[in-house]
Symmetry: C2
Subunit: 332 residues, 2 copies
Amino acid sequence: MHHSGRFFASLLCFWVICQAAHAAAPDPLPSWNDGPSKQAIVKFVTETTRQGSPQYIDPAERIAVFDNDGTLWSEQPAYFQALFALDRVKAMAPQHPEWQSRQPFKAVLEGDMKTLMASGEKGIVEVIAATHAGMTTEEFTQSVTDWIATAKHPRTGRPFNEMIFQPMLEVLNYVRANGFKTYIVSGGGVEFMRPWASKAYGIPPEQIIGSAGKVKYEIRNGRPVLVKLPAIDFVDDKEGKPANINKIIGRVPTFAFGNSDGDKQMLEWTAAGPGARFMGIVHHTDEAREWAYDRKSHIGTLDKAWDEAMQKGWTVVDMKKDWKVIYPWQTP
Amino acid sequence: MHHSGRFFASLLCFWVICQAAHAAAPDPLPSWNDGPSKQAIVKFVTETTRQGSPQYIDPAERIAVFDNDGTLWSEQPAYFQALFALDRVKAMAPQHPEWQSRQPFKAVLEGDMKTLMASGEKGIVEVIAATHAGMTTEEFTQSVTDWIATAKHPRTGRPFNEMIFQPMLEVLNYVRANGFKTYIVSGGGVEFMRPWASKAYGIPPEQIIGSAGKVKYEIRNGRPVLVKLPAIDFVDDKEGKPANINKIIGRVPTFAFGNSDGDKQMLEWTAAGPGARFMGIVHHTDEAREWAYDRKSHIGTLDKAWDEAMQKGWTVVDMKKDWKVIYPWQTP
């Protein structure tokens, strides 16, 4: 190679490197409008990951926890796991002819939500037990996988694993790219989430934490299996969230995102740790593109946590103002 | 640079690369004698991580679980957590003058093990409750950290975090270097292990699984804390191990190491998964350098799991024959 050739090659290399460096820093949150919420997220991540910053967080302490229902995906007109349970009753009905005349199953099969609701907590527990217990963990996983592959949301007609929030996917990717280990900490069932959430959110099964039923270890046909029992092992909601984070992750997170009073304790426990902390709440304000609900809602009630957020200066995301799109399929 | 210079530089580079490649593959298990146990471990790791091998395990499924007591560290003359509890009774005695005359605390303070043992399970539970509950998780962590920093093993005079097995440290490092995610799955208390085990074994807190007590979320002086209650949340032993692995890790391990009947279910559950699997048992056969015990021992009973291991061809490590050294301080 001539010297002049080398010179131009160097120039070319320099240009390529510059382009690459430029390309490596696009907007990490393109679905967020430029407002206080986006600015707070970017400011926190930038300041806590820059060596020498007074806000610097050691990589080992970069633990980010996210609620699921209402924070990472929608939760209306009912928790999607409840819709799964109702669909399972219908799918399992041929094996249970007695359900045709037995409540609350009869109500489910007839789509009679009024009677189902009137059956109260006892009725709901019966439906959950029938659809979430009495099978091996492998069989349950298969039933979730099948449902996610076929069921459609009643309003959008989309599969439920597409009812996830594009702006929150960007937050997950953004904090991960900056060394945060992302966890789901949900009141939903851990075994209901894992079959689809790993792929949907890019979070491995062991970083998905949720409510759980008891299981029984059993040898079936010479092979050990775990059989799901109709009994609660742990409810991962409210005070249960810090308890479960302590038990499973073993330290206080430095970043937490929720959307309801069920996340209040997780958020305030995160806030109480030493050093820089980020606490965020997704406020459902968009009746047109998603749903609008807060203090008076039975699902995802946001009341006390909202007051605390305003009092303590936590980031409250205004879905309508802050988000350019809601779901991934709406990205331009 | 002259062409001849370049040629020699190339040669030098080649030599450096060869050396580096050579240096990068030293014996991964130098404290293991070359016998069937070492060969089985190396064969498994080599065959499951070589692209194109029929035994190949996808990196996402490389989950390796290790029992702690008797597998990664010694457990004689009593589980070290029991020795911690006894020491804590002595340390806490000044704040509990009533213990001087109240059993089983009186027996502990007087070193009267016979009376303590005679107090049975009820007595032991009282000691555990007094030393493991009624404080915040932070205070408990501090008490473990203090104990590990000061307590000495009655036989070796060494701090307990040095009573770990050098050959098993090498196995942990070896499988990790080959993409396995290492977990502790122990009957011991998760909050007793985390303060020292992360550093001792190179395993982060969230990969340490163990038994746990219930906690209560509370606001103390305006700050949220978790207070440890005198109630069991989960016993991570026997059938509890597969149940907890399923709940926390969310899949069946591909590599498992234990030492007692408490690990039997974890080992057989691991064995039942599809594809290549490694099941190992540490058999305590070295009365001179460690301890020798199995079927008749009250601590770390190895009886049914041993039979199953022999029947199914699992790897049974003969500590006396297989290990050149036991503890890190004995390495040449």
